[in-house]
Assembly symmetry: C2
Homo-oligomer: 312 residues x 2
């Protein structure tokens, strides 16, 4: 993914090694479970963002790696807790903690990871008021998840959808970048641009995820088609399709009730422009990302941000 | 409980009001659920400890209250997550969150409270390295809980039992006191004595809880007799009784398997000195508490600590 940027690749390789060393508890179960949860793959997008932002300033591994690990471990913690909620049996092709060990131990493993994340954050040497970045992110994450859960089997407005995904996905990308910028002693103003980039990136990333739920090859991405909808979550293509053709709501509600045919529903969503309009909104967020990139003082690493936006 | 100490009572009343103001989320559900979890009663021992420790130094509500709230909210977070694990239907005579709203929302409410706790900690103005106190406490809490869970239906040694309860209960009392001492600018050495007091207090407190599980009137304390044992947790009286009479292990294992009579088991535990030896160990921890109190420079509030030890 970062093939044109050997420095980023190099840092990510060293980071992976670092990540392996920080997860050690006196409790063997927690060590194994948390290593399972964190080291089992994933694209490491959030640590990459922290590293890229930090490369724009006074880069210091000793401060950047704890910040990047803090974000990635927090991400893993939320996945562990999400898998309890979603009753997910697999994640990234592997059996989930909650499925392997039952809910109970997954709750504590998530708590343990959450705390580990905050301990690492303290190690970055950031001022206490900056530590709040991550705490705020977790709060917004919880709010986003609770909101999504309480609105299962409901088709929300596009506005509510956006509010939710910014909380669910955007804030953590945003925090990744802000932490990177601050550990590299960049100004609050530049850090803010990085943060806005992260927020818009997160929104586009989540819309991409929603689109994958419509199109993806389950074997490849590891997610079955319309899985979100099966769980009662109306994704953007569904919301957009209903916006264009309100009568579709009945078909979706029937699907929520366990009736309705998946293939005919998929066709209806596509025919009503649900996919097209979602792509459009995603493109708008990609444009926003590019806009914020312009406001960041150029370095040899700034273009890596453009590339990752194009990848979306 | 603090009738002889009007200042402590006054501070606790003001603190209760403060606590009501800090739990506000944009998400109505999280606001209600977290207020339910935190404001539904409880003895407020941990905040009292923070306040008492702080009264030994430069007392400043603006720093003490966030610290006390941080500890109490963390305590509430662990109770919310514990209730998921224990499948508890009621707590303090009220229906639990996990029972009322299902596991899913309880997971996020706990996460939200955990984060709220850390945000409040940041507000105390303590140096980042001191913030670690609470993060370490949560880690030990998780380790203690996981350890307890993995050792269900096993009778552990007294040593392992103590290790576990110090993690499960002691560290949070200890953190309460250390945070109080540090927000009042007391020296690290004095803070350490407060911390040791808290740790020993926690151990005695947990043993008291274990004894209540044998003796209590379910209507009064809200806990049914031998509830822990029913959940597969060997409490201290059980461990002590088996230590004195190893043949009792079989009877306990039968109880774990759902056979065995509760009354005859209760009699066996008492007859084998399980209760007497637990009382003895509790008294040893109470003695330790008094020992640490001696090392703390006397103030009009120091005696409150002696009183709470006697209450045990």
């Amino acid at each position: 993914m970062w093939s044109k940027y050997p420095v980023i690749n190099e840092e990510l390789t060293a980071f992976e090694e670092y990540l392996g060393t920080v997860l050690k508890s006196k409790n063997k179960f927690l060590t194994d479970a948390s290593r399972d949860a964190v080291l089992s793959g994933g694209k490491r997008l959030r640590p990459a963002f922290t590293i890229i932002a930090a490369l724009h300033g006074e880069y210091d591994r000793k401060r950047v790696f704890p910040a990047a690990a803090s974000v990635e471990i927090l991400h893993a913690a939320t996945l562990v807790h999400d898998d309890i909620i979603d009753n997910a049996k697999t994640r990234r092709g592997k059996i989930t903690l909650s499925e392997k060990h039952n809910t109970n131990l997954a709750v504590y493993t998530g708590d343990y990871l959450l705390t580990k994340s905050l301990k690492l954050l303290i190690r970055t040497g950031l001022k206490p008021e900056k530590l709040d970045i991550l705490a705020r992110a977790i709060t917004l994450l919880c709010e986003g998840e609770v909101d999504q859960y309480l609105n299962r089997y409901k088709v929300t407005s596009v506005y509510d959808y956006l509010k939710r995904i910014l909380g669910k996905t955007g804030v953590l990308f945003s925090a990744s970048m802000v932490l990177g910028a601050k550990t590299a002693n960049l100004s609050d103003d530049i850090a803010r641009q990085f943060g806005r980039f992260g927020l818009s990136f997160g929104a586009a990333f989540q819309i991409r995820d929603d689109l994958l739920d419509i199109f993806s090859d389950p074997a490849k991405e590891g997610k079955p088609v319309l899985n979100d909808l099966k769980e009662g979550i109306a994704t953007l293509p569904v919301i957009m399709a209903i916006k264009n053709r309100p009568s579709l709501l009945q078909e979706v509600n029937e699907f929520f009730n366990g009736n309705g045919d998946i293939n005919s529903l998929l066709t209806s969503i596509k025919m009503s422009g649900g996919v097209r309009d979602s792509e459009k909104l995603k493109d708008r967020y990609k444009e926003k990302c590019r806009h914020y990139i312009e406001k960041i003082p150029r370095t040899p690493y700034t273009d890596a941000m453009n590339e990752i936006v194009n990848w979306l």
